[in-house]
């Protein structure tokens, strides 16, 4: 750019002289001119004044685009006047001809030197760029440079305008001048990085070489990149490209995150009623540990029911039965979940829960036994409330058995649930039949699986239909302290 300006100033002397000559000729002959031509002349000279003022500036400050527009305007008026002038106005016509000739040789773009800068163009996915700069020339230069390679560019002349532009569209990269009157670049950056929707939008800050501290401050405040003024346009394109790529990465990541969130919501909704929050979180954290296809697992199975419930309920109103059951099942559910048990189902007054699926832990049996003890302990309070409401006192028996079951989504396509099948389930049910009100019976396999100490009472043998050997069951009296 600077090189081409050099050419302009060299040939501009000729042009300025031609303008002076035209002025003189005009001054001497103007009374013969029609009003329209007078107006054209005054505008032409206005252009001349601007041109002079512009050429008086330092070469580096000259905006080629403005210069080109002034040239174009002067030339337009000169041509127009030449067409309109009488054949008699030879002097003026000659002056205009000389001006046009001078314009032609001084014209930006007439020499080969223009547009001879770095011709490399950085290929990039098109992006939506917001260029913020209080100086019009800078905004236009950037806009031209970036739109030419396919980006969509919006410009803002102030911090306030920039924030409005961000609100209106999904910007990929912000190009931000730091020094602006009013809301400056730092403040715009701060607002962008504080805004939940804009935070991820890459910001490239622009400042003078002397403002190193400002740049550092901005990088610390979250700016993604920087450019020192005056910057190379190819470097700008490269940084913009990098910014767009970063933004696209973020967008994809965000999409992926939202998908995960939806999956997590789905899993929580599906399992939340059966599993404790902790187990659901575990599954979500280690999704590979959960195969719903069905697999063999060693679990501790818990069955609990209210002794003589059927008989009891015959003497109560249906609403009373439901009130009493819900109070009981609600309290038990809380305790089971607190012990990370999986409630498989409620069958009337009976509860079927499993410890060790879908997530196996080393202390599955211990938690199951502690859970059973706590469930029995909680009955006192439940019965207190029952009695206060004139409802019968209830007693429960709990059976625990440890064995291999198949765990998985069981059912048809229309209706399926996470459930368990296997011989160990049947055995648990048989043990449950033996429990007395207030008691806890565990199979020998559960007792063998315990790591902690518990108070163990009498043992008895149990014949189970379908298997040869009998099973030994033990009474649990409490936790050993």
């Amino acid at each position: 750019m600077t090189g081409s300006n050099h050419t302009i100033t060299q040939s501009s002397d000729l042009l300025l002289r031609a303008l002076v000559e035209l002025r003189d000729t005009f001054a001497a002959t103007q009374e013969h001119l029609p009003a329209e031509s007078l107006e054209d002349f005054s505008r032409l000279f206005e252009g001349g004044n601007r041109l002079e003022a512009m050429l008086a500036r330092a070469t580096a400050d000259i905006d080629n685009h403005d210069l080109m527009n002034i040239f174009a305007a002067i030339r337009g008026y000169a041509e127009l006047l030449q067409e309109d002038l009488d054949a008699q106005q030879v002097q003026l016509s000659d002056s205009l001809a000389r001006l046009l000739k001078a314009l032609q040789s001084a014209q930006p773009g007439s020499g080969k030197s223009r547009d001879s800068g770095d011709k490399r163009v950085i290929e990039s996915e098109p992006g939506y760029i917001l260029a913020v700069d209080d100086l019009k020339e800078n905004r236009e230069l950037v806009a031209r440079n970036l739109s030419r390679i396919g980006h969509f560019v919006v410009t803002a002349a102030s911090g306030e305008e920039a924030l409005r532009a961000l609100e209106q569209s999904d910007v990929d990269v912000v190009l931000l001048d730091l020094l602006m009157p009013g809301m400056d670049g730092r403040e715009v950056l701060r607002r962008i990085k504080e805004h939940p929707d804009w935070r991820a939008t890459p910001v490239i800050v622009i400042s003078g070489q002397q403002d190193m501290d400002g740049i550092i401050e901005c990088i610390e405040a979250g700016a993604d990149d920087y450019l020192f003024k005056p910057f190379n346009q190819v470097l700008l394109q490269a940084r913009i490209k990098a910014g767009i790529e970063r933004k696209r990465w973020h967008d994809r990541e965000e999409q992926y995150r939202q998908q995960l969130e939806r999956n997590e919501k789905f899993i929580r909704a599906t399992f939340g009623r059966y599993l404790s929050d902790e187990i659901v979180t575990d599954i979500l954290e280690r999704p590979e540990g959960l195969e719903l296809g069905g697999d063999l697992r060693r679990v501790t199975i818990m069955m609990s029911d209210i002794r003589g419930f059927t008989t009891l309920s015959e003497h109560l109103a249906p609403a009373q039965v439901v009130t009493m059951l819900n109070r009981y099942l609600g309290a038990m559910t809380d305790i089971i979940m607190a012990h990370q048990g999986t409630i498989d189902e409620f069958i009337g007054d009976a509860i079927l829960a499993v410890f060790g699926a879908p997530q196996h832990r080393d202390d599955d049996a211990d938690r199951a036994v502690s859970c059973a003890l706590e469930m029995q302990a909680a009955m006192a309070q439940i019965n207190e409330v029952n009695e206060a409401e004139g409802l019968p006192v209830i007693k429960t028996g709990i059976a625990l058995n440890t064995g291999d079951v198949i765990a998985g989504n069981i059912g048809s396509e229309r209706r399926s649930k996470y459930g368990f099948v296997g011989h160990a389930m049947n055995v648990t049910s048989r043990i449950e039949d033996l429990t007395a009100g207030g008691g806890i019976l565990v199979s020998d396999s559960t007792l063998q699986s315990l790591k902690g100490d518990f108070l163990v009472g009498d043992c008895q043998e149990l014949k189970v239909k379908g298997i040869e050997e009998s099973i030994v069951v033990h009474q649990i009296l409490g936790s050993a302290l």
Partner: protein, 124 residues
């Protein structure tokens, strides 16, 4: 029959804009003006000009972007656009055509040539 709606001139440099308006008026062409790309799009929608003369280096919304948007907007996508580009910027011209401009004229414009282009596109 030639469409007699006005011609829309989009130019932010008022010196050059006034000159072109005067010359076009003198040649019997009715002209309305816009100073930036956004104004241009608004004017295209409300005034339905027969041809648009658009400078490419515009504030707010540049000419290339305005052009692309105009081509995507069914209300104005049919209006022919002549890009006004800098003389030596070959790339500007190519990009103007790529952005959907129908023709271009380099600045400073060859005025008789510009009039011919306007008439040609008005009839199209």
């Amino acid at each position: 029959m030639t469409n007699q709606a006005p011609v829309l001139l989009v130019e932010d440099n008022e010196l050059n804009r006034d000159m072109l308006v005067r010359r076009l008026n003198r040649a019997g062409v009715e002209v309305i003006v816009a100073g930036d790309g956004q104004q241009a799009l608004d004017a295209m929608v409300s005034e339905q000009p027969r041809v648009v003369l658009m400078d490419m280096n515009l504030p707010v919304l540049d000419g290339w972007t305005a052009c692309r948007r105009a081509r995507e907007d069914p209300r104005i996508s049919h209006i022919p656009i002549i890009a006004l580009t800098a003389h030596a910027m070959e790339s500007d011209r190519l990009n103007a055509l790529q952005a959907g401009c129908d023709d271009y004229a380099t600045k400073p414009v060859d005025f008789p040539g510009l009039l011919i282009k306007i008439e040609k596109l008005s009839r199209a």
